[in-house]
């Protein structure tokens, strides 16, 4: 009974190890081959925030300035499709370039 109890405790302790916080980045390369790159989801989240900051802080003001001269129309929404080149590490030394596409919708 004691041994069974010990086994159960061990199993309970080990099970959370299987829960992964990695997120797979997946896609086809130029030759049409499938590529999968694992990444820590928190790291991915930070990368996305960086993209959002870049667009919100630099791209959006630039677009607004470009259309400022237009007198007859008022823009209510900007839809921005953004293909971003990112370098991600796969292992200690090897780096891969990924090309995720982001759809962002800015509204007034």
């Amino acid at each position: 009974m004691k041994k069974l109890f010990l086994t159960l405790i061990l199993l309970t302790m080990v099970t959370p190890v299987f829960a992964s916080d990695n997120i797979a980045l997946i896609g086809l390369d130029e030759a049409g081959e499938e590529i999968v790159i694992p990444m820590k989801s928190k790291r991915w989240s930070k990368r996305v925030t960086k993209v959002l900051n870049k667009v919100g802080g630099e791209v959006l003001p630039a677009i607004k300035n470009q259309y400022r001269s237009e007198q007859h129309f008022e823009f209510k929404q900007f839809d921005i499709g953004l293909a971003v080149k990112m370098q991600v590490g796969i292992g200690e030394l090897v780096k891969a370039t990924i090309n995720p596409y982001f759809d962002l919708y800015f509204m007034k």
């Binding site: 997946i26 928190k42 919708y105």
Partner: protein, 452 residues
């Protein structure tokens, strides 16, 4: 004690082998189609989504985390002249062996999750699509009206120097728009009053600078650098069927007439099957027991060289998407409907793998020069549609629950999932699976948040 440690270690290693092997992979029940060379993994035929549970936790966590971090940054809090980030889309892809991940290079999307800001005025579905020059016609429009509507778009694209060869562009656009008009006339002629009926048809075209049509890799794939033009037809249904304007047959060419007749038949049959599949699903579950409602069904339809219209994905032709909507005044399909046994056409590119499978499964097909036509049994199509609807319901439910669980843990977000779009392919035998990264989707399902 030693024996006991050995047993525990064995148990653990067995458990880890099973978990690690399947972790992050969708059960083969969902994605293994007979002709793609993957046999159904007998150890993993469950319809549960447990093996991709961590992926959805991390996907929801990283998307909401990024959006909240952006939102909480003092620099971004100060909206500039009222401008703010109101929507974001996460694209998810499925690999050949069923590995699920965020789409980070080229390829087809299996799922698209749309995020929207809470408590803001509802963002119309159309507004969340990328801005493409769109020409919209209705029941009242003639072929000349469509040509007239296209003229300013042509002039604008030529003036902007995006199109270098105006003559070639006009020729290709005219040919595609004539086919599109014939499809709309077929849709207008559908008389069925089933619950799910075609309400809209959309044709997305990609042109190169020389004015030639660029085939898209998949229906949903964006083509970098191409010039996109979208044609749309919205059916305005009169409450009185006699009030619906009759299709304008006179202006159609011989090819156009074939497209119209084939479209009319196919859409009637698909209306029957979508309604029946949804009703069967409703008898087992309550598909709307969460915050989402099943809004639209999209089907890719094409006209093959053999002169037939079918659910289609083949190169060298424009493939419009027909959208089926739920109508409150609709009726259930009747068993007496004589068309209920008529097969559904599937038109796909010629592929040696397909022929090998068709031979082994004893499927009949018409082989053309570039594409082939397979006749799908109605029962199998219905079963496939039901499976796709079940997958869409389950993934929507899971994503919704992940966001709720995050909230319950005290991570309140200003963002919600507003819409989930999933894409599927048909097997030659009629089965359906989520579209993999290299596939051309034929079926699209849309779930929309009721509280957005």
């Amino acid at each position: 004690m030693k024996k006991h440690i050995l047993i525990t270690t064995l148990l653990l290693s067995l458990l880890s082998t099973v978990s690690v092997a399947k972790e992050g992979h969708l059960s083969s029940y969902w994605h293994a189609l007979p002709e793609n060379g993957l046999s159904i993994d007998k150890a993993n035929t469950s319809d549960s989504l447990n093996s991709v549970d961590d992926f959805f936790t991390n996907m929801v966590g990283s998307s909401l985390g990024a959006l909240d971090d952006y939102e909480n940054d003092p620099l971004n809090k100060a909206t500039k002249n009222g401008w703010h980030l109101g929507g974001f889309k996460t694209s998810i892809a499925l690999g050949f062996s069923g590995k699920i991940g965020l789409l980070a290079f080229g390829g087809t999307k299996a799922l698209e999750v749309y995020w929207a800001k809470k408590k803001k005025k509802a963002v119309k579905e159309e507004n969340l699509e990328s801005s493409i020059p769109t020409v919209t016609i209705t029941d009242q429009s003639s072929q000349e009206d469509l040509a007239n509507e296209l003229e300013p778009v042509i002039k604008q694209l030529v003036a902007s120097k995006k199109i270098k060869d105006e003559k070639e562009f006009r020729k290709n656009l005219k040919s595609a728009s004539e086919d599109f008009y014939a499809y709309t006339q077929g849709m207008k002629s559908v008389k069925s009053k089933y619950i799910w009926r075609p309400a809209k048809v959309r044709l997305d075209m990609n042109f190169s600078a020389t004015g030639s049509l660029v085939p898209a890799v998949g229906v949903l794939v964006k083509v970098g650098g191409a010039i996109r033009v979208r044609l749309e037809f919205v059916r305005i249904m009169s409450k009185n069927p006699a009030g619906n304007k009759m299709a304008n047959h006179a202006s159609l060419s011989k090819r156009g007439k074939k497209i119209r007749e084939g479209t009319k038949t196919l859409l009637h049959d698909l209306s029957f099957e979508v309604t029946k599949a949804y009703e069967d699903l409703e008898n087992k579950w309550n598909p709307e027991d969460h915050d989402f409602t099943f809004k639209l069904v999209g089907m890719a339809v094409g006209f093959g060289a053999s002169g037939n219209v079918g659910v289609a994905s083949f190169s060298g032709s424009v493939i419009p998407i027909f959208y089926f909507k739920r109508f409150k005044d609709g009726t259930s399909p009747s068993a007496l409907d004589k068309s209920a046994k008529r097969p559904i056409n599937l038109i796909v590119d010629n592929d040696s793998t397909n022929f090998g499978y068709a031979k082994s499964a004893k499927l009949n097909y018409d082989k053309g020069i570039k594409e082939s036509l397979f006749k799908l049994a109605r029962k199998k199509v219905r079963k496939g549609l039901k499976k796709a609807m079940k997958f869409a319901y389950k993934t929507t439910n899971k994503i919704h629950k992940k966001a709720e669980r995050r909230k319950a843990k005290g991570k309140e977000s200003k963002w919600i999932v507003s819409k989930i779009k999933s894409a599927y392919v048909f097997s030659l035998g009629g089965s359906v699976g989520p579209a993999k990264i290299f596939a051309k989707p034929l079926l699209l399902l849309f779930w929309v948040n009721k509280n957005k």
